[in-house]
Subunit: 200 residues, 2 copies
């Protein structure tokens, strides 16, 4: 039993190292030796647990995306109107530790290095982890006439994009507290930047 614990511990260390490294460098610029070193293991150990660099990367991403999907699911299943649920989802997201928060933009960053099944399944995992959950909330909002009828998928991507903008250091400086940042995003998304009360 001790050997199995030890094994899954190293596996977790390798995944952690991979997450940290792939977050700050490109897929191509991270070497398997760096991963091994950061995980306090050797290349042999890494290749014992993951068949290839690509598999390691994808395993890390899929694990992380699945975590997020479950987290956001809770906001989707929450009672309340569209805006409240979106606020909850975004708040949950902001309260993630830094290393886990930015993995999502990473999918967009180097999804292009893969092709075929790996690529499609990665995109699918990302879609179902984030945009589709937002989309569900938005669809309810459109149905309840809280939101203007528009393509929900496009709206959800737009919302995600606005959240991503708020990850920048500059946004952190403008809104030191998390609450104000949250309000800003929701206000911008729901009510727009204009002061005009009646849209043209």
């Amino acid at each position: 039993m001790a050997t199995q614990e030890r094994s899954s511990a190293t596996q977790a260390r390798i995944l952690d190292a991979a997450r940290a490294l792939f977050l700050e460098r490109n897929f191509a610029d991270v070497t398997m030796e760096q991963v091994a070193a950061t995980a306090q293991a050797t290349k042999g150990a890494v290749y014992h647990h993951f068949a290839s660099k690509e598999e390691l990367y994808l395993a890390m991403l899929h694990a992380d995306l699945e975590d997020k999907r479950e987290l956001f699911q809770r906001a989707v299943d929450m009672p309340g109107n569209c805006r409240e649920r979106l606020r909850r989802l975004t708040s949950d997201y902001f309260h993630l530790p830094r290393g886990h928060r930015e993995i999502i933009s990473l999918v967009r960053r180097d999804v292009n290095v893969f092709e075929g099944d790996a690529r499609t399944s990665l995109i699918r995992a990302y879609q179902s982890a984030l945009p589709e959950q937002v989309e569900k909330i938005l669809c309810d909002g459109v149905e309840a006439k809280q939101i203007e009828a528009a393509d929900p998928r496009l709206l959800s991507w737009s919302f995600v994009a606005l959240v991503e903008v708020s990850l920048s250091p500059h946004a952190g400086r403008v809104f030191p507290g998390g609450e104000a940042k949250l309000d800003h995003i929701l206000n911008l998304f729901f009510d727009g930047a204009s002061t005009a009360v009646v849209p043209n």
Copy 2:
């Protein structure tokens, strides 16, 4: 004189090839031989014009960003209110040929592979080509009370992000004509997604 023409012609071909290749693959996944082949030249020719792979990449990006800066400048200098000028800027952008349109997201994609001066000057070029121009328009809007007082830089990034979302194939399907897409972005940014006429 003919030799100089010939020279700058190959240089242009190399830059074109670089743009096309770097657009669909990572920096690391593009080889100098591929660039040479696509440009119908040899590696020797490429290295004759550009000292290194990094220099080629940066030269290509800077040239392209400078073009865009000049293009967007025209919208900034235009008379009219904030919304009209933003519309013009975005419209100009949409009317660019496809290969030139998406270069901008490319900066965000692999700015991380560089460090030091190269990195900072690239970010600066990007900033002054796009977000800062949007920012100027927004600042005027805030001053004229057409836009709610908020951090203009953050607002400009948000706007750029919304435009980027509309580059997706799905957005192209939802809005086959350019005009409708333009309206959608502007409506979303200025008036938000909500149906509520009076913001909370």
